[in-house]
């Protein structure tokens, strides 16, 4: 798979403050790439470098194999976290203006806007002013404006903030549809459940440095602890002590139908799931056996704490 975006060794200082320190990321074509990190880590600065809003002190960025140039703004759609629209301008006029700034012809922009407005059932807003709309409604317009020029690269910074669950879902489906139509998406958020749901690649930035990146599944494999969650109805009551002496055991929480013993069992590197399973097989009635996969949330917290 080729990469749509490559960021090479980018650094940026603001006076004495280092916002980015030799950060490199590669975003594969057609992926949804999660850009994660605590507040103030440097995510927004990195996104601004990609958007040519901020010039890096060193390093360079390649989009589709080409060094970033002015005309690349047409290939990027950016929904910033600090977003808004001209309050006293009409919805339609404003959307047309922003589309033209992205290099679209007026007629073409109008056609596509009508289509999008119909899809999202907001057609009758065309002549309303932004100040007459609710925040969620304005966010919808903002989303349409971001994707209207059908860019190769879409950058969303907290795209779901301000949306109710129904509209958040609607936007999520639209993002997936855009990806299926060939767009690549960079997605910056603090909501880890959206990361689990959408992202196939992630990068984690902490204190201006990239501390982790790669395919989300690979990272999970890397972070797996060989831990299994089991539910068992023991034959004898001494099983819990016996297990505790043989393995590293912590209590687990999940729902079962019976009054089963519920545990997390961490195996050492030379033990396998099959060993554990065949051992448990003789100890009682097994109702639950599943590998514990580290969540994006766990990975995030663990990585940030360790750095």
């Amino acid at each position: 798979m080729s990469n749509l975006l490559e960021v090479h060794q980018v650094s940026k200082n603001f006076g004495n403050f280092t916002a980015l320190n030799n950060v490199s990321i590669t975003v594969p074509k057609g992926s949804i790439f999660g850009l994660l990190g605590p507040n103030g880590a440097g995510k927004t600065t990195l996104i601004r470098v990609i958007n040519q809003i901020t010039m890096p002190d060193s390093g360079h960025v390649l989009l589709d194999g080409e060094a970033l140039k002015n005309h690349h703004v047409r290939d990027i759609g950016y929904l910033p976290e600090e977003r808004g629209l001209y309050k006293s301008m009409k919805v339609g006029e404003q959307a047309l203006y922003l589309a033209q700034l992205k290099g679209m012809q007026k007629a073409e922009a109008k056609k596509r806007l009508k289509m999008w407005f119909e899809r999202l059932e907001i057609g009758d807003w065309w002549n309303k002013k932004i100040q007459e709309l609710s925040k969620g409604m304005a966010q919808k317009i903002q989303f349409v404006v971001t994707v209207l020029h059908e860019p190769k690269l879409l950058i969303f910074d907290e795209p779901f903030s301000g949306f109710d669950p129904i509209n958040a879902n609607l936007i999520k489906d639209e993002i997936l549809r855009l990806r299926d139509n060939g767009a690549t998406v960079i997605f910056s958020t603090h909501r880890m459940e959206s990361v689990e749901e959408l992202c196939d690649h992630i990068a984690l930035i902490h204190k201006s440095n990239k501390v982790l990146d790669g395919n989300l599944m690979d990272i999970k494999r890397q972070f797996k602890t060989n831990t299994f969650q089991i539910g068992i109805n023991p034959n004898n009551s001494g099983l819990e002590q016996e297990l505790a002496s043989k393995f590293s055991v912590t209590p687990a929480e999940f729902k079962t139908l019976g009054d089963d013993l519920k545990l997390n069992i961490k195996l050492s590197d030379n033990e396998s799931a099959n060993d554990l399973l065949s051992y448990l097989n003789n100890q009682g009635q097994i109702s639950h056996f599943v590998e514990v996969i580290p969540s994006a949330n766990d990975i995030f917290i663990q990585t940030v704490k360790n750095n």
């Binding site: 600090e82 922003l98 700034l101 903002q142």
Partner: protein, 437 residues
């Protein structure tokens, strides 16, 4: 990609379609004219009031001196004592009583005249009385001393020095006045334009920050393009407003003066008085004649070209600074600390222009200030009607354009960083740091 025309168009249209802008455009000349009309009307009413002044002349010299005018009626009393006269005047509700003592000779008449009234009299009444008495007594004094009035009148000589420079261009005092009026108007116009529309640019930048649209926009266009688009768009809207004001004001003035019969030309401002003095009150025809000559004597082509160049560069110089301030702050209340350094040179320029250019258009002070870029647009515009060597104009303009490019560069730096900074009021030190980002 050049989005400048698109940005200019949006800025222009939003400004022009804005309700408060429309209201201001229509209302301002209306209010101005209404105010002028009211003031003129009131002062005319004030003048129309007739007052009666009683005169008790014990000297007998002044019986001929007081002739009734439109506003003042003189009531000459005879055969009354001063006390009775006072009582009578008070009863009749007259404006006042002028009393002249018996005069032995003309050497010490100074203390012989006195004015009695209920309220303290107006300055103009007193000076007009003094004038009349002085004139009459002087004439009689001369007659008594055997000086022939007719001879004096006949021997009076009036001089009007003809002015001509070494290349043979003739000018006169009225020329200077016309030049002053031109230069003053141009300089003042620039000053007003900068203050009104500079503020408008600043507010429009702040609006983009507070509505948080700025980051969306500058992911599509370069900040300097956005800034220049804003400046140009707002200025065009400003020019539109100015033109409408002038046309509307002119039409209204004509209509109002026709309806109310107020002669606005009669209203004399101090400048006009100066003008009249300079002209030494020639006949009306002569007046108009000399005004036209003065007008044609102006270096018109030079004036128009210089006006355009200095006006545009000077305006852009300040406008870019206003844009930078707008970018640096979050709301209008925070702008105060940055406004002062902008307003100072501007106000200085206007005062220097008003005082030194009138005094000596080619003196050291006015020459120096017409080269300093922050004051040169105003001061040079005031000087040019008096004929400034072309090389001086060019040097000054080059300096101005150089500085203008410097401030645009500086403002663009501040703008680029400032528009993405929220929530904090920056200090001057931080602004300087931003330039290096």
């Amino acid at each position: 990609m050049n989005h400048l025309p698109l940005i200019i168009q949006r800025e222009y249209l939003t400004k022009v379609k804005n309700k408060s802008f429309l209201i201001m455009t229509v209302l301002s000349p209306l209010i101005m004219i209404a105010l002028i009309t009211v003031v003129m009307y009131l002062s005319q009413m004030n003048n129309n009031k007739q007052r009666t002044i009683s005169v008790l002349d014990d000297s007998g010299f002044l019986t001929e001196a007081f002739i009734d005018t439109e506003n003042t009626k003189y009531n000459v009393l005879t055969g009354l004592t001063l006390d009775n006269a006072k009582k009578l005047v008070e009863e009749q509700g007259n404006y006042g009583l002028l009393h002249v003592n018996k005069i032995q000779n003309f050497d010490n008449v100074g203390s012989a005249v006195q004015f009695y009234s209920e309220e303290s009299p107006s300055l103009s009444v007193i000076s007009s009385l003094e004038n009349k008495i002085e004139k009459e007594l002087t004439n009689q004094n001369m007659a008594q001393k055997g000086i022939d009035l007719a001879t004096i009148k006949a021997s009076k000589i009036s001089i009007d020095i003809a002015q001509e420079n070494f290349t043979g261009v003739k000018s006169s005092k009225i020329d200077s006045v016309v030049k002053l009026a031109f230069g003053g108007a141009a300089g003042y116009l620039l000053f007003m334009f900068i203050i009104i529309y500079g503020n408008m640019i600043m507010r429009s930048v702040i609006e983009e920050k507070t509505s948080r649209i700025i980051e969306v926009i500058i992911s599509s266009v370069k900040p300097i393009q956005l800034m220049l688009g804003k400046i140009i768009g707002t200025s065009l809207a400003g020019i539109t407003q100015f033109v409408i004001w002038i046309i509307l004001g002119g039409v209204l003035l004509t209509v109002v003066s026709a309806i109310f019969g107020i002669d606005f030309a009669q209203a004399q401002t101090p400048q006009q008085e100066l003008m009249l003095q300079a002209m030494d009150n020639p006949g009306t025809g002569e007046k108009v004649q000399s005004l036209f000559t003065a007008f044609y004597n102006l270096p018109l082509a030079n004036l128009v070209i210089a006006f355009l160049l200095f006006f545009i560069s000077g305006y852009l110089l300040y406008a870019s600074l206003y844009a930078a301030i707008g970018a640096a702050v979050d709301n209008e209340t925070d702008t105060q600390q940055f406004m002062l350094p902008i307003l100072m040179p501007l106000i200085l320029a206007v005062y220097v222009g008003m005082f030194t250019v009138i005094e000596d258009p080619h003196g050291t002070v006015s020459t120096i200030f017409s080269f300093i870029p922050f004051t040169s647009p105003v001061v040079m515009l005031m000087r040019i009607p008096f004929g400034v060597p072309i090389w001086q104009q060019i040097v000054s303009l080059l300096l101005l354009i150089g500085t203008f490019m410097g401030t645009v560069w500086f403002a663009a730096k501040i703008y680029r960083v400032g528009i993405l900074m929220y929530g904090k009021k920056p200090t001057y030190k931080e602004l300087l740091k931003w330039i290096r980002y």
